[in-house]
Amino acid sequence: MPLLEVKNLKVSYKTYRGILKVLDGVNFEIERGEKVGIIGESGCGKTTTMKAIMRILPSNAIIEGGEIIYNGKDILKMSENEFNKIRREKFAMIFQDPTAALNPVFKVGEQLIDILKHSKGAGKYDEDDLKEEIIGAFREVMLPDPERVFDSYPFQLSGGMRQRVCIALALLTAKELLIADEPTTNLDVTIQDQILRLMKDLVSKRDLSVILISHALGAVRGLVDRVYVMYAGTMVESNEVNELFRSPRHPYTRALLSSAPRLTGGGISQGIPGNVPDYLNPPPGCRFHPRCEFKRFICDIEPPSFFSVERGKVSCFLYAER
């Protein structure tokens, strides 16, 4: 049984312009210990899905339907208390912007102690012991001078250091699921690679399920076993990582992969014609159909379901017969 299963999740946002129907039936699953990547353009709903899983959606978000099953129970239907136990002890999330993820007016150590304390469940804990654990985790993420980092304010650390702090925290407090939302996007290019390698190293040593979100294809490739491709609020394809890159099936995935410039020459390819859909009035049926060169009659009538292909699934009527 998968660790976590997202079934047909639909989420909308209430804005002053109207209702943005962002997630239109997201289907996603991850096994215990599996590393899964989610790739897609900015704004396609990756973060929204993750926030829905962690139940930290903003107040103007409406969950229109769907389920998120963990250990047989639907997270969305749990009480706050019940889910808090899970969040504290089993799940953790690394945010995109490490500057924003740490409270600027509190010292790093203080924040981490509070979080760590609660992640261990009920009971009294000695602050010095907790501090030792945190310093140990800092060492593991290669933070120089961990004692000083512990006593610093976030603005006194560099971007890369802050993200290492967040990674350390996540690893300390996630026993089963780690969500990393574009962990390197906001960092210097030189640091990005370092951090990704660090994460790969740390994650491989642990039996932890990891969801890595990125809009950088290369980043994902080295780290995960399986990849989901997301577009405009739906998962359009999912497959083992090498199979996906070798043989992308969904028209969007194909266009996406081919539009990435290659170092080995071949010129710069054109982008994908058309625009990302307007979530206020999303296209009916398959949300990609206005930009798809293979559009058929049925594509704007019904959204396609996930059809099986070799080692994976595609959400496109082109593959319906198989």
């Binding site: 926030k51 962690m54 139940r55 930290i56 903003p58 107040s59 889910f83 808090n84 136990k85 899970i86 969040r87 504290r88 799940f91 953790a92 999330m93 945010f95 995109q96 912007d97 924003a100 993820a101 740490l102 409270n103 600027p104 007016v105 509190f106 924040q111 509070d114 979080i115 609660h118 992640s119 304010y153 603005f155 006194q156 967040c166 407090t173």
Partner: protein
């Protein structure tokens, strides 16, 4: 930079600013129409008396010399001679200042407590009924000047409902021997609980009238701070780790949210010191502003300059205190070197 360096720098700067201010006010006062010596002597006094007074008050000397004398007097604690009250201005200040300070301090406390309470309630229950009610109240409160509040409160709660006294610091028949001039403190020092309560009772309406504008404004700032910050990633991180709501709201959300409000408190204190003048008139408060208005209407120049400087000094001290508090709350301010 270290906290102590910061304080020293600000203090030095304030002194410099106040000196500059004193020059401006001094010059303005001296170049006006009107003859202070004549006013001191009275319209019927003979010319030679007026000359004498003019000489005594140094009015026959050039301007910069007058300023120099005045400044050196100042350092000896002598604020000059009040033409109208016929005694030293310093004495007047000592007599009347504590009453106003007491009022302003109590009003400041009301301001802070009220802003915290209303602001965090409105922030926590954003966009619900309580937030909207507080919002409407805030607009009304900010728009009514302090003296309007003073009059209305006096009318409703004093005259009509008889809940609070209409004027004065203390009821007739009660008295408190003067030690510090702060009746609240003096009554405790004297062990007189009845007087203490009575003084407090007298303080409530004027302090409330003074504080309500600032209270409402700060409440709104705190509220919008909380609403802005509640969606910030650092709060989401804590919620995503299941931290209890109380801890997140009252520790991690509140602290960054009150910083913009505390920054504004310097302005609030200015408003308090300024508006105290008007509220004191309404409540017949025997304080600094009553003395001040009287000095102003009678063109008692030494007193006016002294008043401006004393209030400027208090304001400067209050601002330094506020800045220190802000830099304690927000370490970025004191720890960030230029160019970091």
């Amino acid at each position: 930079m270290k906290l102590s360096t910061y304080i020293l720098k600000r203090t030095a700067y304030s002194i410099f600013t106040l000196l500059g201010l004193s020059i401006i006010v001094f010059t303005l006062a001296r170049i006006l129409p009107g003859d202070p010596a004549r006013m001191a002597a009275g319209s019927r006094a003979p010319e030679w008396v007026v000359e004498q007074i003019r000489h005594q008050l140094n009015l026959d000397k050039p301007l910069y010399l007058q300023y120099f004398y005045w400044l050196s007097d100042l350092f000896r604690g002598d604020l000059g001679y009040s033409i109208i009250s016929r005694r030293s201005v310093t004495g007047d200040v000592i007599e009347y200042l504590p009453a106003s300070l007491e009022l302003v301090i109590v009003a400041a406390i009301f301001n802070i407590l009220g802003a915290f309470l209303l602001g965090s309630l409105a922030g926590k229950y954003a966009n619900r009924f309580i937030d909207n009610a507080i919002r409407v109240f805030s607009y009304v409160a900010i728009s009514m000047p302090a003296f309007v509040w003073a009059i209305i409160l006096q009318l409703v709660f004093g005259w009509w409902l008889h809940v609070f006294p209409i004027q004065g610091r203390i009821s007739e028949g009660l008295s408190v021997p003067r030690v510090t001039g702060f009746y609240l403190i003096d009554s405790i020092l004297n062990g007189n609980l009845r007087a203490f309560l009575d003084v407090l009772w007298h303080l409530i309406l004027p302090a409330f009238a003074l504080s309500i504008g600032g209270m409402a404004q700060d409440a709104r700032i705190i509220r919008s701070g909380m609403v802005d910050n509640v969606e910030k990633d650092y709060i989401l991180l804590m919620r995503s780790k299941g931290l209890p709501d109380r801890l997140v709201s009252f520790k991690y959300l509140l602290k960054p949210s009150i910083i913009p409000a505390v920054t504004v408190m310097g302005m609030d204190i200015a408003a308090l010191l300024g508006n105290a003048f008007l509220v004191e008139i309404v409540y017949n408060w025997p304080g600094f502003s009553k003395y001040g208005i009287w000095a102003m209407l009678n063109k008692d120049l030494n007193a006016i300059i002294a008043i401006v400087l004393v209030i400027g000094l208090i304001f400067a001290i209050a601002n330094i205190v506020v800045d220190v508090i802000v830099s304690y709350l927000d370490p970025r301010i004191r720890l960030l070197e230029k160019g970091e």
